[in-house]
């Protein structure tokens, strides 16, 4: 692999690679995203490779990995070019058929195609699937096309052209100006204008001239995996973004702080870094321009709080990962007390796009105050779980109904939680809200890093708030009293409410505690921790009241507050529930309606999940 000696050699390399690529007859891309890996795409890949060898396809066929394709509900996904034939739910057993039918004979295997559950339409290629049609996939489409372990894929797709342009033709101030025009705001949660951060760091004095860059890849929100997918699927975009940022602010050393629980992301960024170094795109004298930039990859030990900028910096410095008061911005005094720019993975990945296509182009996407696109991880009670990318300001309804395919199982949408554990819930009647930084904050939630958890009408909002409070109580670093003890007591109060021991006073105390935590916590983790409670109190107050005053759980979730009974009209007397009941509390003759002995019932709910006729009811 030869070293590139000048900015103009990037374009030459791209031409060379494309010429070489033109010779392949078929390209078979297997999705290697987190969802597909969990379902076993590695076996699919091996099976396909074996089948190609057996069929003797050799040179004509290019089998490759790609990053996450987004439609995780349809894993494992295999896409075959030419034609872009999109197969979903592929298992190793399908490999032979794919090779013999599709690759060798050009026939499409219908049963592996996507069928739209509402219209019944069959989609042959990705663009025909409603899930993809509604999206604006700037970052995700790159991930879906590229082999993350191969720098040539990235260069062939126009990668590192933005770096070449920056080093060849732009002054640092011009780079920052372009970012300012683009209106890019931090994707990690806070939504701080990126250009302002960079300017502050550029202007900050450093005694020996040292400045640092950090990529925050410590994504820890339950159900969120946007950054993971980007780092696993397109690590070069992050490196290129950091290179451009380093040039703009005058830094020579960067760190990628990535979770240890993301081994593939760690491997992916390390491989990419080494490849970039070998090509002269990273290290000393980059592209022969005299600009130096090094990247170290640092692994986090699994503390959620280390996603907070000052805790992350403490952890990088080798100290305990605890936040400190942020009276001086990290852009002025950050890592090792030097000016430091810390941005999230997705923010860095957006930078090359902005430099290539211009800030004005980026600003034209989204809304006036929130520009560009945002990647969301759409999870929970929704048909198409997965990663989606949309222009800022897209109404929540469109995300849930047209792209997500709605709530499955004939149930109704109850609420959507955005922004991870520190975010808030929006009730179903607010789903026409446009999703951007400011609208969400006004509604009592937040953008966060882009997690969207959809809940159906069988979710108890008190129980839901308790889940997040429990998560945060575990993950609080324990440094400041309000967060450590406050979350612990909040958990006590919520547990009491869900167990039927709550009083109207406990709700009042809960509200006061929430307000004080918001006010008096040391860092953003504590200050935003009450959001799940406050937002559910705001929109679902009646549910709290029902627990406390009526002693019942309207959603039928809190076990201490519900009783099970069988609807005699719906029961067919199949006896399935009686066989499964661990307490032997269900009796009845086969063919006749059964009944539950309330004294013996332990409210485990097994009968309800067992019953195929929805005859088990709760009060």
């Amino acid at each position: 692999m030869s070293r590139l000696e000048g900015p103009n050699q990037i374009a030459e390399l791209q031409r060379e690679i494309l010429e070489k690529r033109g010779k392949f007859g078929h390209e078979i891309a297997v999705c290697g995203g987190p969802g597909c890996r969990a379902i076993g795409c590695e076996e699919v890949f091996r099976a396909l490779r074996d089948e190609f060898q057996r069929a003797g396809c050799g040179e004509d066929v290019h089998l490759k990995w790609t990053g996450c394709r987004g439609l995780c509900a349809g894993g494992t996904i295999v896409v075959i070019d030419p034609g872009g034939i999109f197969y979903q739910g592929v298992t190793p057993e399908d490999a032979r058929e794919i090779v013999e039918e599709t690759v060798l004979r050009g026939a499409v295997i219908e049963r592996l195609l996507y069928v739209d559950p509402t219209s019944g339409e069959i989609a042959r290629a990705q663009d025909e699937i409603p899930f993809y049609r509604g999206q604006t996939r700037l970052l995700l489409e790159q991930i879906a096309q590229l082999d993350p372990s191969n720098i040539e894929d990235y260069v062939a797709a126009g990668g590192y052209a933005a770096l070449a342009k920056t080093l060849d033709r732009l002054q640092p101030a011009e780079v920052i100006e372009e970012i300012r025009i683009s209106g890019l705001r931090g994707r990690g949660g806070g939504g701080f204008p990126t250009a302002r951060k960079w300017t502050a760091c550029r202007e900050a004095a450093s005694s020996d001239g040292t400045k640092y860059l950090i990529c925050n890849a410590d994504e820890g929100d339950p159900g969120a995996y946007m950054d993971r997918s980007i780092l696993e699927g397109n690590p070069h975009s992050v490196i290129e973004g950091m290179l451009i940022g380093a040039y703009a602010v005058g830094a020579n050393q960067g760190y990628v702080y990535v979770r240890h629980e993301y081994p593939l992301a760690v491997q992916s960024i390390l491989t990419a870094r080494d490849q970039a170094q070998a090509r002269g795109l990273l290290g000393e004298n980059i592209l022969g321009t005299g600009f130096d930039f090094h990247i170290k990859v640092s692994r986090g030990g699994g503390a959620f709080v280390c996603g907070e900028s000052t805790a992350l910096i403490a952890s990088l410095e080798g100290k305990i990962g605890e936040p400190r008061p942020k009276h001086v911005h990290t852009a002025v005094r950050g890592l090792f007390n030097k000016p430091t720019v810390l941005n999230n993975v997705e923010t860095w990945a957006n930078v090359p796009l902005i430099i290539s296509r211009g800030g004005a182009w980026f600003a034209g996407i989204g809304t006036e105050s929130s520009t560009g696109t945002k990647v969301f991880s759409l999870v929970g009670n929704i048909r198409n779980t997965g990663l989606v990318e949309l222009p800022m300001g897209t109404p929540l309804r469109m995300i849930i109904e047209s792209i997500g395919g709605g709530v499955p199982g004939g149930k109704k949408l109850k609420a959507v939680q955005s922004g991870g554990p520190s975010g808030g819930c929006l009730p179903a009647d607010r789903i026409d809200l446009p999703v951007d930084f400011d609208r969400l904050a006004e509604a009592g939630s937040m953008m966060g890093s882009g997690g969207l958890i959809v809940m159906d009408d069988e979710t108890c909002m008190v129980d839901f708030a308790k889940y997040f409070v429990e998560f945060l109580a575990e993950e609080s670093c324990g440094k400041c009293v309000v967060c450590r003890e406050g979350l612990d007591r909040m958990r006590d109060i919520l547990t009491a409410i869900t167990e039927g021991n709550g009083t109207p006073e406990s709700i009042e105390l809960l509200e006061e505690l929430c307000e004080v935590m918001k006010d008096a916590s040391l860092c953003a983790l504590g200050a935003t921790a009450p959001n799940p409670v406050l937002s559910t109190l705001r929109y679902f107050r009646d549910e709290y009241d029902a627990h406390v005053n009526g002693g019942r759980c309207p959603a039928g979730v809190c076990r201490a507050l519900i009783t099970f009974h069988i609807d005699a009209a719906a029961c067919t007397g199949c006896g399935a529930c009686a066989r499964e009941c661990p307490e032997g509390a269900i009796s009845g003759e086969i063919g006749l309606a059964h009944s539950i002995d309330a004294e013996m019932c332990i409210q485990c709910g097994i009968c309800r999940t067992t019953c195929r006729f929805d005859a088990v009811m709760t009060d």
Binding site: A473, G478, C480, D488, L509, L513, V516, D519
Partner: protein
């Protein structure tokens, strides 16, 4: 010199001072717990929070870590500050009901009931002992272990640290074990103040920690 406004009064402070220090030069009392002269500010007990007014908006900040800066407008006893301090005291007392210092401070702030479940963990993790050991004794034998509610003060491998010279400073500086409240029955989580009914001038706790308890002394116990 810089000038800031604390409780309506113009206060001149030196560059590098915290808001707490600036307030004290003027005799303005802000209660503190994890702060100790001679140890680095830590900002974790949140008892010293003050309201920072920025136009129509305001926020609460710990005064012990907040740098005094030109034009800053501070309120040390606004209703918002008082509410936060009271809840903080309730949280602290539910963790460590036997601390005389905490009981005194709570009484002075007008806390009449601890509404949270009692936990009896004693240590409030103010970090005074850890900082004292490291910064005054140059020893560093103590540190924090774990996170969240399982966080505790400990030594390496839970063994007597080599660095320890048995100076006893950790015990002396501790607001919980230095002088325990001897009340047997807590009413609503509070000691009732019976044992504190001594004149302010001769109360060793108050004279030693007047900076913490404040000039109001034992008013609430009369």
């Amino acid at each position: 010199m810089i000038e800031l406004t604390i409780d309506g009064a113009k206060v001149r402070a030196e560059e590098g001072m915290t808001v707490l220090e600036a307030a004290r030069t003027q005799g303005i009392v802000i209660p503190t717990l994890c702060h100790f002269d001679g140890l680095s500010p830590y900002g974790v007990c949140r008892v010293c929070v003050v309201e920072v007014v920025k136009g129509k908006r305001s926020s609460l900040e710990a005064s012990c870590t907040l740098p005094a800066s030109e034009g800053l407008v501070i309120r040390t006893g606004s209703p918002r500050v008082q509410r936060a301090r009271k809840v903080v005291m309730e949280l602290l007392l539910s963790t460590s009901p036997k601390s005389k210092l905490l009981q005194d401070m709570a009484a002075n702030m007008g806390v009449t009931k601890v509404r949270f479940q009692q936990k009896d963990r004693d240590c409030i993790l103010c970090g005074l002992c850890v900082r004292y050991c490291e910064q005054q004794m140059q020893s560093g034998g103590l540190g924090f272990v774990g996170r969240g509610v399982s966080r505790r003060v400990g030594t390496a491998f839970d063994e007597m640290p080599e660095e320890c010279r048995n100076c006893g400073g950790c015990e002396w500086v501790c607001p919980v074990c230095e002088q325990a409240c001897r009340a047997d029955d807590l009413i609503d989580g509070l000691c009732g103040g019976c044992l504190n009914a001594v004149p302010v001038e001769s109360c060793p706790i108050c004279t030693e920690c007047s900076q913490s308890v404040g000039a109001e002394g034992h008013r609430t116990f009369r």
